[in-house]
Amino acid sequence: MIAEAGLAALWFAAALAALQLAMAALGLWRGQAEPVAAVRPIAIVQGGLAAVAMAALIALFLASDMSVRLVVENSHAAKPWLYKFAGAWGNHEGSMLLWVTILGLAGGAVAILERRLPERTLIATLGAQAGIALGFYAFLLFASNPFARVSPAPANGLGLNPLLQDPGLAFHPPTLYIGYVGISVAFSFAVGALVTRDVGPAFARAMRPWVLGAWIFLTLGITAGSYWAYYELGWGGWWFWDPVENASLMPWLAATALLHSVTVLATRDGLRAWTVMLAVVAFSMSMIGTFLVRSGILTSVHAFAVDPERGAFILALLAIYIGGALALFAARIGTVRAGTTFSLVSREGGLVVNNLLLSVILGIVLIGTLYPLVAAGFGVQLSVGPPFFNKAAGPIALALVVAMAVGPLLRWRRDDAGALLDRLIWPIAAAGFTGAALVVLAPPGVLPLFGLSLAAGLAVASVLPLVGRNLRRTPLFTWGMVVAHLGIAVSLAGMACDSAYTSETLVAAAVGQPVRVGPYVVKLDGIKPVVGQNWSALEARLSASRDGETMVLRPQSRYFSDPVTTTSESAIATEWDGQLYTVLGQADGQGRWQLRLWWKPFVTLIWFGGVLIALGGALSLVGRWRRERRIAAREAYA
């Protein structure tokens, strides 16, 4: 019953999306008032219906309704309720339904909240959003029905992949999808603006909160994904340039460039073509990412659905949306009047350099990810991995860090190079001092040395815009910029420390044998069996001592029966200056147990920096919203 209701809601939502698109097209073409007036309410109801469908699917999972094929294939009655709930989107069909739900709700939110944009542009935007939604509804209804029944209903399901039975599943996919969908809204705005030839500050101000919101969630989603993989997979690494990881990074790079561009367009009416193009590129990257992860054309440890047939459907959608948008761009951008111009040494110039460097990194990641595929087409089998990406993108990323330090200190329109250099005294001094101190006290490799010195320079430079200002009257969005850039510096410092100072110890330890790792002495006290809700495990009790203080860690080797899998649950102790990461391996048959131990100084800065970046974005978002409200209030009283 619930499944049928969910499916019906999905069909209705799809029908409304078609209607929304038709009304928008009719209203714009013919200029008729009624279709135009209908678009907003339709968008709101469409979003609501999609949410009903998603709620139905979640209800089916929570109830472990084994007559629905998706529940059978991905769930099990003995699972903890959190993973039944999150398992609703821990598979291909459910995650696509989550996508259209967020898309529908976002469209409804635009319909309700957006008041400043000219009516025509808003209608064009909602029409574009309906077009995107329609493609995904079709995909769901014809190629990925989440509500398909199975008869006869089996007694129990196949269970959820144990690697996914983790709070990370409840957090990582929804945040990423909110990010991707937010970008699709920005894309709809860009298409709407191109269609109505209204590429200007008004359009940028309307689009900006959506870009910021999407970017915040993408940042959080990627940070969460990195940390989840770090503690779940048990190899102590946090990024592997894996195709699925790259698929989430590419939209983020484009969205970062877009978010800087849209501010220039909103406040200075510059970078018009860049902003529209970046909105299209960001959405293309999120769609290509969706495609790569689900189609099976690239091998990855994270790929969760391999289905070439569905891949073909997404490919078709890709061609229509992106090809259409790029053709529209080419046809219309020439008639969009160029914005104001500026000199090279200026804030706008710095932002162009920022766009350029981010786009180059994006290009490198895209080419590196797809290169093995292209080579295979020519019969050559090769692998492209971290050595390539680090060597190719690393230096450019460091150049970007310099640009990030310099940019906020530049004046708009035109600035003087000499004056700029004076402003940079403190950051340069900080970088130099840090580098020298490191070389003397704890010499790292060349690349981490650069990384840490630049991080110090960036940290000082990012705080400089606040110096000399009345902090209580500084706009919140300036604080946002400071915090976000500071977050990058913190994250970079964490990455460099992890790369330079991690120590690793592998040992087959007997009970009671002391093992050194970093500043710790670790002893295996014993192994005992433990049982969980749907797993059993062998748990090691480790005592780790440092400077007279001891703590206990309990890494596990876990066995699941539905499906039959073995996972290793690492035990991590977080201190102020790093993490002690412990993994239990196999017994060696002679009473000793394999232990893998890492001491990772300051590694948590990586993800703490990521959270800071997102926080900076949130401060900017709130700051802009408050500024808009104040302007609107002032205009109302004027």
Binding site: L233, W235, G237, F240, D242, P243, L271, W274, T299, S300, V301, A303, T340, T341, F342, S343, L344, E348, V352, V353, N355, L356, S359, V360, G363, I364, I367, G368, Y371, A375, F378, V380, Q381, L382, S383, V384, G385, P386, P387, F388, A392, A393, I396, E504, T505, L506, V507, A508, P529, S536, L538, S557, Y559, V564, G585, A587, D588, G589, Q594, R596
Partner: protein, 135 residues
């Protein structure tokens, strides 16, 4: 007590799928005594691909063949071979697939030149944003 035995049996039983039950090679899970050599070995292992895995380096995989490749790398480094020689030996047998660091050659020059090309093209495009310095 029975439950303990059952769980321990579970721990040491070989899985139903095709996996060897012989113990891993000595150097698969043991570090070399010389820290400098171990660091060399670790850096090399992080860039060699596990040929039986879904996209992992031999440093990150628990597959027994990955363990054997780690043992091979460590024993050769201990014997004094350079990482480049070991990588070349493996590439000779498995092709470029086994190295995550694609060698610069006829098949990969577009890959390695792409960053430079992108920078140049990007700079040229960006130049047009500044073309007129004064209004």
């Amino acid at each position: 007590m029975r439950r303990l035995l059952l769980l321990l049996a579970l721990a040491v039983a070989a899985p139903v799928s095709a996996d060897p039950s012989t113990p891993p090679a000595a150097l698969a899970y043991t570090q070399l005594r010389d820290p400098a050599q171990e660091a060399q070995a670790r850096d090399l292992m992080a860039t060699l691909r596990c040929v039986v895995c879904q996209g992992q380096s031999i440093a990150d995989s628990d597959a027994s063949m990955a363990g054997d490749m780690r043992a091979l790398v460590r024993s050769r480094i201990a014997a004094g071979e350079t990482p480049e020689a070991i990588r070349a030996w493996l590439v000779e047998r498995y092709g470029d697939y086994v190295t995550y660091d694609p060698p610069f050659g006829a098949a990969t020059w577009p890959l390695w030149l792409a960053p430079v090309a992108l920078l140049v093209i990007g700079a040229l495009i960006a130049r047009s944003s500044f073309r007129r310095t004064r209004r």
